[in-house]
Symmetry: C2
Subunit: 190 residues, 2 copies
């Protein structure tokens, strides 16, 4: 998506170790209008899949998942990383490595909001190694739900996430696909 790519080029900062800082419009400050555009684009690409729920992981997935859900007329569920006291004792829980935290994090969903008849569209901010998204896939599978598609704002193709998701045989869409951060330069697939 042109608007997202341009913003990444203008404000993205390469921090080394494959980390692209987009804190000025995605991960700390959020450009609401840009997120709305991205949500609209996800909704357009995934409209035909008959999703009944958008699934994401707190924290950075919430904004794009919410705008996607808004344009599809669906609710969002975001996996929690710590179990709040409002959650029942029996939950779906999986572990996923966090790239930016350098450790494993828990992803937790209450069975109250993910049932076996759901058709789940997974939306996240980044598709890097695919580890977080695979965690969400495991949670949806544990609930017996059907996953219908996967979308990420920004894909880093050089971290192999798309290959890691290949066995799922699902449509995987990213709005900005980065093939390299080498030589302090952001290179897009197109």
């Amino acid at each position: 998506m042109k608007e997202l790519q341009e913003r990444i080029l203008r404000e993205g900062q390469i921090l080394g170790n494959g980390i692209l800082k987009v804190d000025s419009f995605v991960n700390h400050q959020v450009d609401a209008a840009l997120m709305d555009l991205c949500g609209r684009e996800f909704a357009r690409r995934f409209a035909h899949l008959g999703a009944t729920k958008v699934l994401t992981a707190e924290i950075s997935g919430i904004a794009p998942a919410l705008t996607t859900a808004l344009h599809l007329g669906l609710p969002v569920v975001y996996a929690r990383k710590t179990k709040p006291i409002t959650m029942p004792d029996q939950v779906y829980l999986t572990l996923a490595p966090s790239h930016t935290k350098g450790r494993m994090v828990e992803l937790i969903i209450s069975p109250e909001y993910l049932a076996n008849h759901e058709r789940v569209l997974i939306i996240d901010d980044f598709l890097a190694s695919g580890a977080t998204i695979l965690g969400l896939v495991r949670l949806a599978e544990a609930a017996g739900a059907t996953i219908v598609g996967i979308g990420a704002l920004i894909e880093k193709t050089f971290e192999g996430g798309r290959d890691a998701l290949k066995h799922l045989n699902l449509p995987v869409e990213s709005l900005a696909s980065i093939t390299s951060l080498d030589d302090n330069k952001i290179t897009f697939a197109d």
Copy 2:
């Protein structure tokens, strides 16, 4: 706001200790359309204040803050509770007690995204004791920014948050104001 009150009556669960569980449309599953309505209403109530940025705290504040920002045409900044590696070493940090976590949590904002010329509108999911919102106030003050208003989806008047904010002399708006959860019954102010 009628739509929010009706939803709270229909799906809110009183867990005791003053805790109202609204995980089916605010805190775990999010009703995107309802959040959009709430954001539109906040935008209407605060439009005249000349805000330049919406400020909230992760995690549950993000959805209403994002839709408010969308309708006001502003960016959102959400205070982080753990410092990600993308954040600079020098940050604004304060501590606030978390009602649902039963411990103090950190609220952290990067100086990159909160400057002294900003006019800040604070939006959160709950106004209970006011502790989280006062934490956001301290962060905005530390940055030298001007706070112009405070909005919460759900106010629990019996926890005294509005009084705790009184000295700020700011407009404080809530979209559903709950005066009591006694006798397993949700009572609204109007």
